[in-house]
Amino acid sequence: MIDPSFLNQLNKLNLILKRRVSNAYAGGRASIQYGRGIEPVDHREYIRGDDLRLVDWKLYGRTERLYIRRFEEEKSMILHLLVDASASMDFQNSPATSIKKFDYAGSLATGFAYLSVHENEKFSAALFSSKLGDVMAPDKSKKHLFTMIDVMNKTPLSGVTDFSTAANQFAKTIRSKSFAVVISDFLAPLDSIEEGVYRMAKASEELMVIQVLDPSEINLAWTDDIHFEDLETKESARTYLSPKFKEEYKHMVAEHIARLQRICNEVGISFNLITTDMPLLDAFVGLIGGAKRGT
């Protein structure tokens, strides 16, 4: 469940974000180009060939000269949110952590969507597991935001992560001038992840990869004899969690994360690791700060 209080926190955060700062939040920025838009920017003298519908007749009545109205060309950067809804995201090591990975990821996505709506920018969203699902076309209404929250709250978390396939499908919906955010635990074979990252990077103007993990996934919070069942594949593994074993495991997970980061670095995209024990707002601020720094 997406935490509603997070939305209130985002409202306060908006004061900070009033400035037109980020190309990460594309909406609300002045365009350097003129074109057909809603708000007139200035006028210029009519020249032949200009669209007569653009002539400002009121001004002609006062000045008897033909001027045409010039409008700011719409330069809205669409936000594309791709959130992992595979079974592995349905994990929370309660009571150590108070939130599921998916809820955390969804909250982050909501944060991005909120900012987008607030800046009157469109955003699209999609969930994925073994394939793309619940794709919502770009829109900038608040209703769209709440629809997204509703979808996230109701979507059953199942299936195996296939980021490559999902990225391939989602990339086709992305038009130019887009900012894509992928939120997943990326607990899948790195080959598949690498391919998906490349596709998304190619399709979007800018891409942010956010890996959300529960701390216990990194440190194995348990001891003794444990029977693990894989949430996605339902495979089981019984093992004795000795300190040595846990050390090896931690080392292996760190290696996985490091390789994922290398992949992102190679294509010049931002990689962020978030653990679910971090306060949501802090994590989100950190993310957008990072995006700022990335500009």
Partner: protein, 648 residues
């Protein structure tokens, strides 16, 4: 310290607790389901598991030291509850009254047990004493043929000191008596009593098992410690050395060698006369048999010390030598008092011509024949023989002189004669070894006892036809008699000897004078009558006997030790020298004991020990504390493992 090997369990039923290992293993195999955790991915876990896969159950056991430790703990606890014990030789014994009987007989000098059986026995005794507790008492007895008490109920420190000073004797063994002595010595003690007999168990006087049973019946524990490697031996078991009767300058030497082994023994025997090699011979002695050897060696009339030495006589040396003393031949001056007539002139011996012949045949005897009443001065003689004389022809005072003559250390020999009863002189009666009553007629044989006067004399065919009814006087020794009437008797008077010979050398009295033994008898009789041994009674004795002297004298034993006593225990073979006021006298002491030379035979064996029900004392050392200690260590290791796993 090595862990003692358990000999048994005091509570064996508790071993069943070890069966708990089975449910433990089952629990391990069927242990409660592990916590099930639904986890985002087991990808990494599986990778690690695969890199260390030991799927085999055995490997699982090995891999998990906790299970092994737990099994160990259960088994150790079960074993501890069963209270195992080990029978170990007591190292710190409880207080006891200990008597150690060490066989110190000649056979213990055998070298089959290095360095010797005796020295090994002393070492064993030392070990026993060292194991004894501080408050134990120790008695030590040497089992010679007469048990010798070395120490009685002493502290063990003193006993250890004494052990360094005891020696093995050359005597026969008498371990049974030593055991009984040990029993008597321990009787006063209130402590538990144990008698240790350390011996080769060669043949001994008496029955050692019977003595041991007596000790058992008296509540005394008996332990036998046997030092015997069953080796064979050959040795001298008998010897004799003396001058031949007919040629006093010829030594007759005989000795008997016995081979106790199962194989023929080649031995070389050497005969030394006064340390000069006189003869050397080699002999092959058949297994388990004995052979006697004789030889003659020319010697002088002086005293000689004879030594027979056997080389290659096995592992016991003490029986490889025999010793003998051949006394000096004394020259005698004898006066024969007789009477004669025309047919039997006095010059040729008168009525005692056979006596005169016999005495005159001796080269070392100067005989003078006289007929009372005229007799030469007594001082010219050392021996007076009173033959067939007329009682009334002897002048008064003659017997008084003779009495003084004998008292001074000279010899008087009185031959029974028809007129002897008519000699009615108080001095004569005082000298006579026997009291005569009347003359008896009738052919009778003679019964003899062993005596050096009769050593080479055969009286088997001698018949007496007339003899005096007689009774031996209190201080007289009878060596031949018939029908209870002394025929040859002697006594000492003062420093001299008086011999009565009841066999008259006349045709109608006996046929002794015709016997070839007759001159030998007279030679030996005069020799014996003149023996001047002031101190010793015999020049040949055996070890284990006492040398009883006439008075206190200094005695040097074969090893050179000197002691002044009237009675000396002869525990060494060889020559003992007695230093008397009239000069030194020497006697020969031999082992010559067939049982003692038999060092192979052990009178006790394992079976007889079982019959005696003598069990070796062993202390029971309970091991549960050791097991509990090991269990504690195992638990500590388990705790360490738990801590390493972060479970504690």
């Amino acid at each position: 310290m090595s862990l003692p090997v358990p000999s048994g369990f005091l509570n064996p039923a508790a071993l069943a607790a070890a069966l708990l290992v089975i449910p433990l293993i089952l629990l391990y195999l069927l242990k409660p389901k592990p916590r099930k955790i639904r986890f985002p991915t087991v990808m990494f876990i599986k990778r690690i598991e695969e890199s260390k896969r030991f799927s085999a159950l055995f490997n699982k056991f090995i891999k998990d030291p906790l299970l092994l430790l737990q099994i160990l703990v259960v088994v150790l606890l079960a074993a501890a509850m069963a209270n195992p014990y080990a029978l170990v030789q007591r190292t710190t014994a409880p207080d006891e009254a200990m008597a150690i009987v060490i066989d110190a007989s000649a056979s213990m000098q055998a070298t089959d047990v290095q360095p010797t059986r005796f020295l090994s026995a002393v070492q064993k005794a030392r070990e026993l004493i060292l194991k004894a507790s501080d408050d134990s008492t120790v008695s030590i007895i040497l089992a010679e043929n007469i048990p010798v008490t070395i120490m009685s109920n002493a502290r063990r420190e003193k006993a250890l000191e004494v052990l360094d000073r005891i020696n093995c004797a050359d005597t026969p063994s008498n371990t049974p008596d030593a055991l009984i002595l040990a029993k008597d010595m321990l009787s006063e003690s209130a402590l538990p009593k144990t008698v240790y007999l350390i011996s080769d168990f060669a043949k001994t006087e008496g029955d050692v098992l019977t003595s041991a049973k007596i000790l058992k019946l008296n509540g005394i524990s008996v332990q036998f410690i046997k030092l015997n490697n069953d080796v064979s031996n050959a040795g001298i078991i008998d010897s004799d050395a003396r001058r031949t009767p007919l040629n006093r300058n010829l030594l007759y030497l005989s000795y008997t060698l016995r081979n106790y082994g199962d194989a023929e023994e080649d031995v070389t025997s050497k005969v030394y006369v006064d340390n000069m090699l006189a003869s050397e011979e080699s002999h092959a002695i058949k297994p388990l048999s004995e052979e006697a050897f004789q030889l003659n060696v020319s010697i002088t009339s002086e005293r000689h010390l004879i030594t027979v030495e056997v080389l290659d006589g096995g592992m016991l040396n003490v029986d490889d030598k025999a010793y003998a003393v051949v006394p000096q031949i004394l020259t005698h001056r004898t006066m024969l008092l007789t009477s004669g007539d025309r047919t039997t002139p006095v010059d040729s011996g008168g009525r005692d011509k056979f006596v005169a012949y016999a005495i005159g045949a001796q080269s070392n005897n100067a005989l003078r024949i006289a007929e009372p009443p005229v007799i030469p001065s007594l001082g010219e003689f050392d021996t007076i023989v009173i033959g067939d004389v007329q009682g009334n022809t002897i002048l008064p005072g003659t017997f008084r002189d003779i009495k003084n003559f004998v008292a001074e250390g000279n010899a008087l020999i009185i031959i029974a004669s028809p007129d002897i009863l008519n000699i009615s002189d108080k001095n004569f009666e005082d000298l006579m070894p026997v009291a005569l009553t009347d003359l008896i007629a009738g052919e009778k044989n003679i019964k003899t006892t062993s005596h050096e006067m009769l050593a080479d004399v055969s009286l088997e065919n001698v018949v007496v036809k007339k003899y005096y009814r007689a009774a031996a006087k209190e201080n007289a020794t009878v060596i031949a008699e018939t029908e209870g009437n002394p025929l040859i008797a002697y006594r000492t008077y003062g420093n001299g000897k008086v011999i009565y010979i009841g066999v008259n050398p006349a045709k109608d009295w006996s046929n002794f004078q015709y016997s070839s033994s007759y001159p030998i008898f007279w030679a030996q009789a005069i020799e014996y009558a003149n023996q001047k041994y002031a101190l010793v009674k015999s020049i040949s004795q055996k070890t284990g006997e006492y040398l009883v002297l006439e008075k206190d004298a200094e005695v040097t034993n074969p090893s050179g030790a000197k002691a002044t006593a009237r009675s000396v225990f002869l525990d060494k073979t060889g020559f003992y020298t007695i230093h008397g006021s009239d000069g030194d006298e020497t006697i020969a002491v031999n082992l010559e004991n067939a049982d003692e030379s038999d060092i192979k035979t052990a009178v006790y064996d394992e079976n007889s020990m079982q019959a005696l029900e003598v069990t070796e004392e062993k202390s029971r050392e309970e091991l549960f504390r050791v097991l509990l200690a090991i269990t504690a260590v195992a638990l500590l290791i388990e705790i360490v493992v738990y801590r390493r796993r972060g479970l504690l």
